[in-house]
């Protein structure tokens, strides 16, 4: 159920991308319908999914499920930053889930930040995808998050630590789908050129293949016990 992987890889022509060691565990909580914990280096997020469950009349949507995402910071109350992340995660989940199969019901996803050492949004996205998969909700495709930072010299750093993020000129996070490796969501901060954006997307798409491979491996490990 618990698996780990670390990668360094050369992308043809572009600079090498390296992902910190990442690990995942599914079905670790007993109460939620689906749960997962995702670790990227020192960044760690715990996710729990409830649903399809009963929905408040005021939030009911007649032809699809209502998706709710809550991000709990490590300390203190959730603020504007968390709300912005919640929206990014929610819209990505809504795009991947086949929510029309469960109309008039609610899906709620709770993400607890255990430790933040950079690339938090991508870790949240990865934990969310694993938890949704664990809950057995119908999905059209999988998604993963990749964060890229551009340092002052113009080099692209994938999966940056908090220090690398701080030193960088721009930080971008992309959610990438598993079917066509297209960008589902992007969140950027700082200044960069169009060319740099394209490069970052290309690197993220390459990195996403590694993550999807890891997803498959860790789900396979989870089901290896069932006869």
């Amino acid at each position: 159920m618990r698996s780990r992987l670390a990668t360094t890889m050369e992308v043809d022509g572009l600079s090498a991308f390296s992902l910190r060691e990442f690990g995942c565990e599914q079905n670790l909580l007993s109460r939620p319908d689906g749960s997962s914990s995702f670790v990227q280096g020192d960044t760690s997020v715990l996710a729990g999914v409830y649903g399809p469950a009963e929905v408040k009349i005021s939030k009911e949507i007649y032809d699809r499920a209502t998706m709710e995402v809550v991000i709990q910071p490590k300390v203190g109350l959730p603020g504007v930053k968390e709300r912005a992340r919640e929206q990014c995660v929610r819209e990505t989940c809504e795009a991947a889930l086949l929510s029309t199969l469960h109309p008039r019901s609610s899906l709620s996803l709770v993400l607890q930040v255990v430790h933040d050492d950079g690339s938090l949004l991508s870790c949240c996205l990865n934990a969310a995808c694993m938890a949704l998969m664990d809950a057995g909700l119908p999905m059209g495709c999988l998604f993963c998050g990749v964060t890229c930072a551009i340092d002052p010299e113009g080099h692209i750093v994938t999966d940056p630590t908090a220090q690398q993020e701080k030193d960088s000129r721009a930080v971008m996070t992309f959610a990438i789908d598993s079917a066509q490796h297209r960008v589902m969501m992007s969140s950027t901060k700082g200044s960069f050129s169009v060319n740099e954006l394209q490069q970052c997307i290309a690197v993220s798409q390459r990195a996403s293949e590694k993550i999807f491979q890891f997803y498959r491996e860790s789900v396979r490990r989870r089901y290896s016990k069932t006869v």
Partner: protein, 234 residues
């Protein structure tokens, strides 16, 4: 053409995996976790691909949340009486309705004795995503056929849906081994609820903890545990 599906039987699939067919003359029946999309079959749940002769395929996944399906037998808890229907909690996203006439021998004069909080074993007459699910406690001939309100005693426990299906499988090794520990009664609902009753409350508790613990166990581990329990019980 169903070869591409056949060679993946027993392997783990992830949502987003696609099987495409060139020759569409052959028929394939898609079970849970598989969806047809034009000439393609799309996987929408993670789990192991299973096959039943001649052409049935489905994805076997470990889930906890139940989604009502027509014809499935479940254990429900009566939560309210409103007019001529009972509202029954079956673990889905909505309460199911159960008419008071849907019991064996029930008429307008002769109402069944069902109280709020009672457990009922019934099957779904209506279950689809757009309508309220409806339970009945009689078969199409009007016979109870094992369904109805539970008697006193016994204990209701919740397990995963995967374990329930393993308990209900024909010639289930798990049930055979469990029978050898000590005699007991068991009712298994496909919604992940299991009702057990044995000679004493202590045995019921042993049974409940055995069931909960064999969720993630290899046959060898299970064998050892059951033997220990049987020795302790005698």
């Amino acid at each position: 053409m169903s070869d591409c599906l056949k060679e993946k039987v027993g392997e783990v699939l992830l949502p987003g995996d696609i099987f495409s067919f060139e020759n569409t003359s052959e028929k394939v029946i898609c079970g849970p976790g598989l969806r047809r999309n034009g000439d393609e079959v799309l996987v929408c749940k993670s789990g192991i691909l299973r096959h039943k002769h001649p052409n049935m395929y489905w994805v076997d996944s470990q889930q906890k949340r139940y989604v009502p399906v027509k014809g499935e037998s479940v254990i429900g808890i009566v939560t309210a009486k409103s007019g001529d229907v009972f509202k029954v909690d079956v673990g889905g996203s909505e309460l199911a309705s159960l008419s008071y006439l849907a019991f064996e021998g029930a008429t307008k004069r002769n109402r069944p004795n069902v109280q709020v909080g009672d457990l009922v074993y019934g099957q779904f007459l209506i279950a689809n995503k757009d309508m309220e699910p409806e339970l009945v406690c009689i078969d199409s001939c009007g016979r109870a056929n094992g369904m109805g309100v539970f008697g006193a005693g016994g204990l209701l426990i919740k397990v995963s849906l995967g374990l329930v299906r393993r308990l209900l499988a024909q010639q289930s090794a798990l049930v055979k081994e469990l029978e050898q520990v000590f005699p007991f009664e068991m009712v298994v609902g496909l919604n992940g609820r299991v009702w057990v009753k044995a000679q004493s409350m202590q045995r019921v508790q042993v049974l409940a903890s055995l069931l909960e613990s064999c969720e993630n166990m290899t046959p060898q581990q299970r064998h050892a545990l059951f033997r220990r329990a049987a020795n302790g019980a005698s």
